[in-house]
């Protein structure tokens, strides 16, 4: 038996626990914790697992709706899509591990989110990723980008879940702290949903999957700390992913879930055995007893501390019905996976762990989950806003050559084609992808029905930096607009809220504002938040990233034959702008790329207008009236038009546009990012029908041009050859690598 070290003041601190928290632990236990127990409290009460700084704000988010089967609180959220089916989805961050080891960090992020989905009984059908890197001047950016993309590809391709979309942004605020947010969606029969519960005292607790090694011990605590010089030394905690084993685990679990052998199941993610057992018990008002000698191990001499906190990947915890142990075993053996009954459900609400017959952990399950600390941390409006909000466009000269600016924008890594990334992802496996990456949203069909699921992930972190409330809102409405443009009715979102150190009042203020903005937009759009993830401490040496609340949204296409794409189809079609342009440049990609300024006030969002525009677009698509739809986002109307001209898979289409407005400066008109705008194209015959729908919905409506020729012409402002624009846009990312 290995002797545990004694608890010292220093040890408590290095476990990230405050004095108050430690006293609280003593009170709960009625004694001093031992070393293993200290480790357990430390991870379960870490920011990452307990949401102690964010909980009070997250309560604001709308989480309910007629179609919502499962909101936040489980491994993933669930939405009813009819036909007896439901979609299950969730997003997770793997920022810190990916910065330390980009390939494995990103890969294990994918592995983790996949488990969150199939643990609920759903077969994972599609993944997305949202990536944020530093600027290309930074020496590590290329290395990190290469590694992260390869890691996502390595894991997702191997396991055979298509990665059908995502986003990738570059900004110096991520130089020392990249973001890797990964999303997976699965489909499940409504009456075969499984949860992370541990009902029924006496029921066996079964460990399945890979053996336990010393991987990632204290990963959860690490995710709750900022980087400093000594982070380098923590490196060995990074785990290696084994997508092959996960594939076996996935198939074995889904095979198991066809039967009625089990009560509950949960993956072992952050804080491994500790988190899964205490959450399952606490959700069910029961306890769990574990005998560590039964835990399959990869290495010799592992201590209870290490076994309980290991974050070895590709493992699951199952509570089976008593008497069905053998049945469960058979299935996992068939798939060549380790399986071991390691304990039982008890009725005394305790997590009790034995090693060599001796009790080494004895903690009330709820103390680790429900009774974790909750903080109302101080908030304060950041000083920098005084400066950024003072910005006026009158201080920058209006450029003369707009053609040149359009090209520069198309070459900005934030706007340039991302095919270098998504080409590395198998985005077709499972033969469901009916709209491939490269349009506003991606769509998978739901085999056996006529329906499709549209997915997108969006966040505008520059807006969030300049006004987190509007930025949060903008991220939601952009996601929704992307779905609508593909012909989908938005259903629900999951989020990944990436912020700096919550102990700083300015960061807490940003967080509060962003969550309020998201909440407001979600309420108005009736897209509840069915799950999410908070990642704080995204700082390096005191420098926080831009606040980055990533929004992943799922929508339903009722008839996949009526899905829509963003590119122009036929010469002679009319081009219509739904929505209205204003003189708004604050926070735009144009200001940042061309003038090097990241200031100003982000564009206003009028939710009534937003809904009017979106409803019009969706109704028009559902009635088969329009032939393309594309939302205006970074780079404004000029970039959106260019993309509609050249992003089609078969051919380019030119366009002639007239949008002169006396009151708005040329650069604002072309590159301003006013919200609630969608560019559609349609057959001339359909114009009246579209007008009627726009009128009914109160959507601003203007015919701005016609498809034809091989040039992008915006009268008096821009005149470019489409093919050369396309080449610049397509090659820009690769050129920088």
């Amino acid at each position: 038996m290995i002797k545990e070290p004694l608890i010292t003041q220093e040890m408590i601190e290095s476990h990230g626990l405050t004095e108050d928290e430690y006293n609280n632990i003593k009170q709960i236990l009625g004694r001093e914790p031992n070393y293993t127990e200290l480790g357990i409290f430390s991870v379960m009460w870490s920011e990452h697992c307990s949401y102690k700084s964010s909980k009070i704000y997250l309560k604001k988010l709308p989480t309910k709706g007629k179609h919502i089967i499962q909101g936040p609180g489980e491994n993933a959220g669930i939405v009813d899509i009819g036909d007896g089916l439901a979609i299950v989805f969730k997003m997770e961050s793997h920022n810190h591990p990916s910065y330390i080891e980009p390939y494995q960090g990103a890969a294990t992020g994918v592995g983790g989110i996949l488990r969150d989905i199939f643990t609920m009984g759903a077969r994972p059908l599609a993944s997305l990723n949202s990536l944020r890197f530093g600027s290309f001047d930074h020496p590590r950016t290329r290395y990190l980008l290469n590694g992260v993309v390869a890691g996502i590809a390595g894991y997702g391709n191997c396991i055979g879940v298509p990665t059908i979309g995502g986003e990738a942004y570059f900004n110096k605020s991520y130089n020392g702290n990249i973001l890797v947010n990964v999303f997976t969606l699965g489909v499940v029969k409504k009456n075969r949903i499984f949860k992370g519960v541990a009902y029924g005292p006496g029921n066996p607790v079964i460990y399945v999957g890979s053996k336990t090694g010393r991987d990632g011990i204290h990963g959860a605590t690490m995710a709750s700390e900022q980087f400093d010089e000594s982070s380098q030394e923590r490196r060995p905690t990074v785990q290696v992913g084994d997508p092959f084993t996960e594939k076996l685990l996935l198939e074995a679990c889904l095979e198991l879930m066809k039967e009625d052998y089990i009560v509950g199941i949960q993956d072992m993610g952050a804080a491994g055995l500790t988190c899964s057992s205490s959450e399952m018990a606490s959700r069910s008002g029961t306890g769990i007893e574990i005998d560590l000698s039964k835990v399959p191990r990869r290495e010799e001499g592992m201590t209870p501390y290490e076994l309980m906190l290991s974050e070895s990947q590709e493992r699951m915890l199952i509570v089976a019905k008593e008497g069905f142990e053998k049945k469960v075993e058979e299935i996992f053996k068939k798939w060549d996976l380790d399986v071991s009954v390691i304990g039982r459900v008890t009725d005394d609400k305790m997590i009790r762990v034995r090693e060599a017959g001796k009790i080494v952990v004895d903690i009330p399950a709820e103390a680790l989950t429900e009774e974790a600390p909750i903080y109302t941390r101080p908030k304060e409006r950041p000083q920098y806003l005084l400066k950024t909000q003072n910005f006026s466009i009158h201080n920058i000269p209006e450029p003369v050559d707009f053609n040149d600016i359009l090209i520069k924008l198309l070459k900005s890594p934030n706007i340039a084609s991302k095919h270098w990334i998504y080409r590395q992802y198998d985005h077709m496996v499972r033969t469901n992808t009916v709209l491939l990456p490269g349009s506003d949203a991606a769509i998978i069909r739901v085999k056996g029905t006529n329906k499709g699921i549209a997915l997108t992930v969006d966040s505008n972190s520059r807006y969030c930096y300049l006004d987190p409330y509007k930025g949060g809102m903008a991220s939601v409405v952009e996601a929704s607009r992307n779905l609508v443009c593909s012909g989908a009715k938005p259903l629900a979102i999951t989020d990944c809220l990436n912020f700096g150190n919550p102990e700083k009042p300015e960061i807490m203020w940003q967080f509060d504002q962003a969550v309020s903005g998201i909440s407001e937009a979600c309420k108005k759009l009736n897209t509840p938040v069915i799950g999410g993830n908070v990642s704080f401490y995204n700082e390096t040496q005191g420098e926080a990233i831009y606040p980055t609340p990533t929004i992943a949204m799922a929508g339903i296409v009722y008839d996949i034959n009526l899905r829509q794409t963003q590119w122009f189809k036929d010469n002679g079609d009319l081009v219509v702008l739904l929505g209205k342009s204003y003189e708004e440049l604050g926070g735009s990609e144009y200001l940042a790329t061309i003038h090097g300024i990241e200031e100003g006030i982000p564009p206003d969002i009028n939710m009534d207008m937003e809904i009017a525009v979106q409803d019009t677009c969706l109704e028009a698509i559902q009635n088969g009236l329009i032939k393309s739809a594309h939302d205006c986002s970074e780079g404004g109307i000029a970039v959106a038009l260019a993309e509609s001209c050249f992003s089609g898979p078969k051919f380019n289409r030119g366009v002639k546009i007239s949008i002169k407005e006396e009151k708005i400066r040329g650069d604002c008109l072309l590159f301003g990012e006013s919200q609630s705008r969608i560019i559609v194209s349609l057959d001339k015959d359909k114009l009246d029908d579209l007008k009627k729908i726009a009128k009914k919905n109160n959507s601003p409506f203007s015919v701005i041009g016609e498809v034809g020729t091989d040039r992008l012409v915006i009268e008096g402002l821009i005149d470019c050859d489409i093919e050369s624009l396309k080449q610049e846009w397509r090659g820009a990312l690769e050129e920088r690598l």
């Binding site: 080891e101 494995q104 991987d215 060995p236 290696v240």
Partner: protein, 83 residues
């Protein structure tokens, strides 16, 4: 000069490849195999550098590029022999 570089996974780091190969060898009846770890082997041929200088350069290359210090260890030998 020829440098022979061996890159191996750090102790304790999971080796999914090794695990799969071992499983396969076992199922082929090679039960004597107790453990197998996969690594990389590189032969780097150098021009115009020798002795300590060569040694220092190779060490640098390993640390910067050839090995991933987060999960891998490396060692090398420098010989004058041909590949």
């Amino acid at each position: 000069m020829l440098a022979k570089i061996y890159v191996t996974l750090k102790k304790g780091v999971l080796d999914p490849q090794g695990k799969a190969v071992q499983y396969s060898l076992e199922s082929l009846g090679y039960n004597e195999v107790k453990d197998i770890r996969l690594g990389k082997y590189m032969e780097v041929r150098l021009d115009d550098v020798h002795g300590d200088k060569a040694e220092a350069r190779i060490k640098e290359m390993c640390e910067k590029l050839l090995a991933n210090p987060v999960i891998e260890d490396y060692r090398f030998e420098i010989t004058s022999e041909d590949m």
